[in-house]
Symmetry: C2
Amino acid sequence: MSITTPKGFVASGLASGIKASGALDLVLLATDDGAAVPSAATFTTNLAAAPPVRVSRRHIAETGGLASGVVVSSGNANAATGARGRADAEAMCSLVAGALGVPDQQILVCSTGLIGIPLPMEPIERGIPALVAARSGAYEQAVDAATGILTTDSGRKEELVEHPTFTVAGMAKGAGMLAPNMATMLAFLTTDAAIEPGPLADLLRIAVRDSFNSMTVDGCTSTNDTVILMASGRAGTADPNVVVEAVTEVCAGLAGQMVADAEGASKIVHVRVTGARSDGEAHQGARKVADSLLVKCSLNGEDAYWGRVASDLGSAGIEFDMDKLTIAYGGVTVCRDGIAADHDEGAVAEHMAGSMIDIHCQLGLADGNGVVMGVDLGYGYIDENRTTS
Amino acid sequence: MSITTPKGFVASGLASGIKASGALDLVLLATDDGAAVPSAATFTTNLAAAPPVRVSRRHIAETGGLASGVVVSSGNANAATGARGRADAEAMCSLVAGALGVPDQQILVCSTGLIGIPLPMEPIERGIPALVAARSGAYEQAVDAATGILTTDSGRKEELVEHPTFTVAGMAKGAGMLAPNMATMLAFLTTDAAIEPGPLADLLRIAVRDSFNSMTVDGCTSTNDTVILMASGRAGTADPNVVVEAVTEVCAGLAGQMVADAEGASKIVHVRVTGARSDGEAHQGARKVADSLLVKCSLNGEDAYWGRVASDLGSAGIEFDMDKLTIAYGGVTVCRDGIAADHDEGAVAEHMAGSMIDIHCQLGLADGNGVVMGVDLGYGYIDENRTTS
């Protein structure tokens, strides 16, 4: 199983020399015949978006949601690099497009790594012809691609969902705590289902909302976050309502791999808020709790201090009534009607000692639901993030 | 110098038994003759506001901004305690009011400590008569008061500003990192300037905005935060425009003491944003940077990684143009027009090695300015916050 399992895609990866370590750092994912296929992308909302994000956003707008491929470099984010950075991102697309014999606009570009350092273009210019020549649908090249997008990830992140009539595959790198100097999250998805650009963009938005956007490691939004989904159509027409489930499953799997790989974290938490005024408010409340330094420290210490959860919900900017609040850890209610509830302390202690913590907050107001996945805060996060060296 | 230096105030503090340690835990601040004087208060915006906050808010509304005194307990926050908590907070006011011979509404109440545990009323009921009897304008009683409001603070926090015609004094406890289980910030201010309730409330809002509300330790908003300012009028009429400066100076001094006392923190940072679309947006941007886990870790590691600052500003929800951004650490410009600027690296390293870090972000858009004071993130914060024991 790999990113080229869905029919119609090829991939490759090589070590161009961006990374001093000599690791793989240049990746291509493309259609096997160079054809531009329906492609959708979601990008960081950060207004300090890096040049490759700006270039990819423009290209996909100009083609109306079609792409022949995406080129990815790792080790340098090409972020905070100004006009030179934009020219460099354009040049990466142009070199790949030339080698494939397609218009520049049909190539998307992503970079991940350190911010504020101009991209070393010499190794990239030298590497791209070989990268394009090496492209293949073989497993080995797909492994190189899934490896070449990584920075300090502990291993490849791949997912595959096979439906009777079509297939969806994905590969990804990152998440904040992992390698916060290179904090970018990148994910690339392929499917052989045939879907038009418009519905494809809609279903990617839904899948991202219910996976990557429901995950938080440190509340920081990278300058380079990008998710790209390409649909070759080789498996024939598919109902977007069916495809969205498969794409969401792949995205959720990749998101789970990212959180599980977060260095310095010892616990994963699912914060579930129900009974909110709306789904949006439930999500906002869950995110506030999952991002709370005090809650994250409590998780690290295996302390079910629900007062902090209540305090975060009360300051989350959502409708809230303390007297209607119920909080449960691992299914054990510790707070009911806004005050302490008698409960089985041994059962809660046992749950807190595990590596997967579940916090359920019932606001008792209406029917809004939301879940956000997060992690605890321990020494490891600080160790990883103190310096860039 | 003490909270009773301004003419017309008395104070007292005693160990009632709320704190198992036997430390001072019950405090009174009142007018020397029981008269209700113009008093203003600002409270936490947390919708999970604790019962004492709700009771004080109602009392000050009912009197139209007049109070004879405030009673404070420490060691238990009386938060997330429901109807019983509200009755307990009412009872504290009522007991003090009875002993002073004034209506209940003229007494305000604050509590600070652990959340979710009912207040032990027996020691409080036993202690209040002695507390009221001990009230005095003497220095010793003021020291007991300033001590009795503390939880795990390393020492008393007091400020005094003497103007030729009037005096403003303050005492405070807390700040998130200090004792995050008891994360409340409380501050009590007295002045002998004569000011009506309306202008007094206005000037307190301004002073709090420019001091306590421009400080962040961990981005968490407590359930109990309260600032109360009482004006005895004994020094005669004063121009509110002059008083606001003195009150702001006292508040800023107390805020500085809180940040300096933040356990686990080794650096204080002033994040200054200029050139924003408005003062509000400048403040919002500065707060995003000061609250950023990645920036806080960089400060701990003495790493001037400005890319993270740019990324936080870009995701702060304010108007932002990367190409116009300038960032300076300790006055040394490291980023100009959104890209790396050649600079004296030794000078930046020297600045980062100090205990007071200055980050100045010029957005280049308009004239909005704002400053937020924060701290770094180190092991100490986690040690303090892992468990409540």
